[in-house]
């Protein structure tokens, strides 16, 4: 019994490894078929998983197996013709896959556009035969079809415009070889003309004509005239809402004319280019492609990555490497203001009073001793708390850091977990004249490096403590100036950045 995946899981795997489907869709488009041969699928998958980890390989193989695809409903039909199995994929899946890759967008041919127009005309002719009432199933059905067709048309056109707008890349690729060398240019130009003309004639021009308000068609009204007459019929029968909706759709279709026209102008420009112009065009496209790649990197799931990382890009051209920026004043830890000296003095006072009591400083029992038990823990915490209660505090921007500075290296056997306990104690104990404010900013404290030449054992590994910053403020509202870091804080920040 082979393991299968749910539809959601299978879809997830398909989209995690989209290259397989991309390749299959490409093949389908090339052969102009609507099915995939099972053999092709198997080959694609085998090719794709060859260099992957075995666990991955198995997962992908199972997800892409015909059985699994069929069972999960992503393949809707399996047809056996002359001993070959043909798989028909679900349209929605193919649509999504195409949406993820512009090169897979289907070109909108004249015939397809025409079929839309004919359908719309049919609907227009059928409409007067209904009773224009929501109770009439003929009418509601017709309405649904109308909405569906119009939104399908808009979707297709939008996708197509999107595809056309990437035409610059296509043009650059087509003319790549010719633009680099003088000799081949003339011979190539003919070929290029033909290819671009085909693109223009089969792809851009029909769409442009289709979306032209004033186009006169031999076989009847154009798109907008058809939509307008449907709208008029609906309005006449007091179906205002439906008429409005159609009107809005006509507006968005009308707006699509402009971007396509822009593309047409660009193609036209391109055909007139000299070799020099073409080189410039292609060079700009090539360089711009690297910017696009950088932009794509910001579009991953990583929420922190929102900026382009240009260091590699800059180094490629080497232009202006290390260009000096605007000079901005740096923040110095030393100042001449009264508050700075006040802080310095109060910090010194506190440290001096600590030193005066050095003989009284407790020794915390070592955590590593084998005889650790509950009583030991209690004794340890008790010692620490007694010392804490006798400590004098002053307003500070970062209590955790300050406290760590006053305990570390001063109290024998002090460890990070003790700091946690100490902060906990201070949060629950009323501080005379002071209040503790928890902020939402996170800071990191790093422990001392283990001695050099000594491999860090488990106990000695460098510890890190990530905490929320806590401020100590005077109750009467006089806080310390946030701009003036205390000498102690600055010192510690330097260490934290190690």
């Amino acid at each position: 019994m082979s393991k299968g995946f749910t539809t959601l899981e299978t879809t997830r795997v398909l989209f995690e490894h989209p290259a397989v489907m991309f390749q299959l869709i490409e093949r389908m488009d090339r052969d102009e078929t609507r099915y995939v041969l099972e053999n092709d699928l198997v080959h694609c998958v085998l090719d794709y998983v060859r260099d992957r980890k075995s666990s991955d390989r198995e997962r992908i193989r199972r997800a892409f197996s015909t059985d699994n695809l069929f069972r999960s409903g992503l393949v809707i039909d399996i047809d056996k013709v002359r001993g070959e199995r043909r798989l028909v994929f679900q349209d929605a899946l193919l649509g999504m896959m195409r949406a993820c890759n512009t090169s897979l967008h289907q070109e909108l041919t004249d015939a397809r556009l025409r079929s839309f127009l004919v359908t719309l005309r049919d609907l227009r002719d059928q409409l007067p035969r209904t009773r224009f009432n929501d109770a009439d199933p003929d009418y509601t059905e017709l309405q649904d079809t109308l909405n569906e067709k119009v939104s399908q048309l808009i979707g297709l056109l939008r996708q197509n415009i999107f595809r056309m707008q990437t035409i610059s890349t296509e043009l650059a690729e087509m003319s790549d070889d010719a633009s680099r060398g003088d000799r081949a240019f003339n011979a190539f130009r003919q070929n290029l003309f033909e290819r671009i003309t085909t693109l223009y004639e089969r792809h851009i021009k029909p769409t442009l004509v289709f979306l032209n308000r004033d186009a006169q068609l031999e076989d009847g009204a154009n798109l907008f005239a058809t939509l307008e007459s449907i709208g008029a019929v609906l309005e006449y029968h007091h179906c205002q809402e439906a008429a409005d909706q159609l009107f809005r759709s006509a507006l968005s279709l009308n707006a699509m004319h402009r971007p396509i026209q822009k593309v047409a102008v660009e193609v036209d420009h391109f055909l007139r280019k000299t070799r020099r112009g073409m080189v410039q065009y292609n060079a700009m496209e090539q360089a711009f492609q690297s910017l696009r790649d950088l932009l794509d990197e910001t579009r991953t799931q990583d929420l922190r990555k929102t900026r382009l990382d240009g260091s590699a890009f800059v180094r490629k051209s080497g232009f202006l490497l290390g260009l000096k920026g605007h000079w901005r004043p740096k923040q110095y830890a030393f100042g001449q203001s009264a508050s700075y000296y006040q802080l310095l003095h109060s910090e010194l006072d506190l440290r001096l009073s600590d030193l005066r009591r050095e003989s009284e400083a407790p020794v915390l029992p070592s955590l590593e001793s084998g005889t650790r038990g509950q009583s030991m823990d209690v004794q340890r915490i008790d010692t620490l708390f007694r010392w804490l209660d006798s400590l004098e505090l002053r307003p500070t921007q970062d209590l955790v850091q300050t406290l760590n500075g006053r305990l570390e290296g001063f109290i024998e056997g002090y460890r990070f977990p003790d700091l946690l306990a100490a902060i906990n104690r201070l949060s629950h104990k009323p501080l005379p004249g002071l209040q503790l404010v928890m902020t939402n900013r996170f800071r990191t404290l790093a422990g001392e490096e283990p001695p050099e030449g000594q491999a860090p054992s488990e106990g000695q590994a460098r510890e890190q403590y990530i905490y929320r910053k806590r401020r100590v403020e005077r109750v009467n509202g006089q806080t310390t100036s946030p701009q003036t870091p205390t000498p102690h804080n600055t010192d510690k920040e330097g260490q934290g950045a190690e």
Partner: protein
Amino acid sequence: MPNKTSNPDTEDTFTGDSQAPPETGEAGAEGTGMSQERARDSHQGDAGFEGIRPADSAAIYREFMAGRVILRDIWHPHRSELVANSLYNLLYNHLSHFRRLYEHIGYDLVFNDRGTFFYLRESSDEESEEHDENAFRVQLVLLIIGRYFARSGRDLEYLGRADAGLKEDDLSAIAADPEYQDILRAARFDKGVPEAVDYLLRRHFLFKSGASQYFLSSAGLFFLNELVAGYEKGA
């Protein structure tokens, strides 16, 4: 004050963003152009602070500290023409002095002979993330302008001409393109095209030649030309 015409043509001696501008007096001299340089420099007594007015030197320093490049020709908004930049000539004629001066305060003075401009590079912290930040932002905006211009069917050469260049329509067309918008925003130009244009203007990669007309300076155009040359070579 020496003027523009006194600049010898160094086109065949140096290439690109030369790391080694005419190194006078000491090592690094090669080719015939170089020996002429040396003769000229020694003739002018490029020995140190003598012969350079402190006010001029300070003006150069101020330009560099504002993140600007120093160009051979700058736009004179009142006369509406490009005029020779005396600071460039001063730098050029006392190159080894200025190179040493900036070396002593932690910078590299880089001379680009084909784009005819100088810029200041922070010599420390090559690995830091911000080291190439400014260069990247300049390159990015220039590239967007260049691509837009090439796509509109015009020769890039026109970007560097005061009577042609970029017009209001061009800027609004760039601003209307969502892809350019996204790229600019991801490069910390949150206000989009106006901010990007300002960025180039402030650093003298772009000049304003009319109410809403801009053109690229020699430094700006140099970058685009380099991209084209690089492409042609098949880079």
